[in-house]
Subunit: 347 residues, 2 copies
């Protein structure tokens, strides 16, 4: 039996949809889940792909995620909306939130949407790409439970909260930056551990804050560039959770709600408000080409721009299937058996 | 004679205003210049303070900055505005731009303002603080001429473009993050050189892209966290210059306009759109207090949040005067002599 297993994108999508309709989601919501996880797998961001599905099934079972959330959308002023997610999973709440931002931007030029009390957003870049697919710039900030060090403090203080921006680029792959505010992703620390490799220096610390390159000892990533990444993360908490009236960081360190939840801001900007939208995408492509056309330091490694590699991988995996490592395949098998559904066929 | 020289804040302000009215600026525009430079000096960001004044005088003389710019403000859709700065200096153009964003946010909840073709913005955090002074969240992105390395490319590829966010915090100092996308500021490399110190590892490279810790050899900073900082910088160019129809990066690497200029996006968000504005500031203060109240790694170094130290320094320097190093004082003296004006009195 060849490892890793490989599954056709369409079969993987059908499997994810089947999983979530089986646990009780509506067909539309299950499709939103499949879109987000498949997107990540296609682009090679496997940490945010189907590997997360079993965890979501548990989250529904435990009530941490709400299967029948009543999502409420308010629009207190013309340029902004407020999506109260009622603990709906990220794929459902944030897809709705970004569509709302896009609709507002078409009218107002910009739309700023607070999404409060969702769980496990998945890859933030998926949502900002929804905007780019409609010719708009998409931006997103996300805040979650503290899991990252903060300069000078003992223990986890802030979250590895990501920032994402996607910009349409005409003939080229969209510019797509989706970055955590940490030096290294938590999932990557685990990958180093499984491969028996040392971590890069100054990327992680032990539980009490001592720097370490031993992935077995590492409990938290360090923030990107010290106070810069930590400050971004703290700033995102103020822009998302605190602005929505549902702080995460303060209760985490004191009294109050310590249950997992995430809050986001999603922003769409319509380039057509400032001129010709298609001309904008062309000018974006020219800028990206100026960078990829630079003389490389290493002749055999051309200069690349954020988003390009993911788009190439997505093309290859759409055509040739999505590889799933043994651990993921086993976990999906166990979940499928419990739910009484079939694993997708391997190719 | 004691070094550094120390000057009362009011005297320094009067001197900056006098300088700019002498070279032909209106009293209002000269006051805008004084506000921005004095703000930086008061907060201890001396690299962006009065030390920059002689350079502005040269920029006006060379025509690079426009003394009598006709700034045009358009509002193509309700949520966005377009400030065509006509090469007005940053303090004039960006102050106007942020006020515009604030006015829009009061109506719409959010205001997004493109500022195109300004020169030398100064400290971006000054403009985002204008929003916080009016109870709003201020955000800013800036793009300029390439002066930073890009992963895998030879030579300067993108700019050290900053990102700033200021959030009102009630009784506490506002949260104020104003960060370049570089590992180290260009000005700091020079300070290491003057002090005869080695640079931190992995912070800068020579002209051809070789990493160096010798500040005399260092020609460019490296981007913060490799592709993360470089991607942010490139993203800011797409959000600012390219969206405004006046790209900087593409012409820099090809044909077209290579003259110094900067473009910005300034965003204001009105917390009152989402609830009670004063309650928001209080909740922000609680979050900041949760961080500063964390157990410090080092007993004698309490945990701090972005903006706090600057606010403390500003209080001390407002009361006790602004120290000016010998080099700055000498340069101001030479400039004052040429212009036929008096240096401020030292205290």
């Amino acid at each position: 039996m060849a490892e890793p297993s490989k599954v056709a994108a369409s079969a993987l999508r059908a499997f994810i949809e089947k999983t979530f309709t089986t646990v009780g989601m509506s067909a539309d919501d299950a499709a939103a889940m499949a879109d987000v996880f498949l997107w990540a797998n296609l682009r090679g961001v496997d940490s945010h792909g189907v590997a997360r599905v079993p965890r979501y099934v548990e989250l529904f079972a435990s009530g941490e995620a709400n299967l029948n959330a009543e999502i409420r959308v308010d629009r207190p002023r013309p340029g902004v909306a407020f999506v109260s997610a009622d603990h709906a999973p990220g794929p459902v709440a944030l897809s709705k939130g970004m569509q709302c931002a896009i609709d507002i931007a078409r009218e107002q030029g910009v739309g700023w949407v607070q999404v409060k009390e969702t769980v496990h957003a998945g890859a933030l870049g998926y949502y900002t790409e929804l905007a780019a697919n409609q010719g708009m710039i998409g931006l997103g900030f996300l805040a979650g439970m503290p899991n990252m060090a903060y300069p000078g403090a003992r223990g986890a203080a802030v979250a590895t909260s990501p920032f994402a921006v996607t910009v349409p680029a005409g003939d080229r792959a969209p510019f797509s930056l989706d970055m955590a505010t940490a030096m290294i992703a938590l999932g990557k620390i685990n990958q180093y551990k499984m491969k028996g490799l040392q971590l890069p220096p100054a990327s992680a610390v032990t539980a009490d804050g001592t720097p370490t390159t031993d992935p077995a000892e590492a409990k938290m990533p360090l923030p990107l560039g010290g106070i810069k990444g930590a400050g971004m993360s703290l700033g995102f908490e103020l822009l998302t959770s605190v602005l929505a009236g549902v702080p995460i960081v303060a209760p985490f360190h004191g009294e109050g709600n310590k249950r997992h939840r995430q809050n986001a801001v999603l922003i769409a900007v319509d380039p057509a408000a400032f001129g010709d939208g298609a001309a904008y995408a062309t000018a974006v492509a020219e800028t990206l080409s100026a960078i990829t056309g630079l003389t490389p330091l290493d002749e055999v490694a051309p200069v690349s721009v954020p988003g390009e590699r993911g788009t190439r991988t997505a093309q290859a995996r759409s055509d040739g299937g999505v590889p799933l490592p043994k651990g993921t395949w086993t976990a999906l098998g166990e979940m499928a058996e419990k739910l009484g559904i079939e694993l997708p066929e391997r190719i």
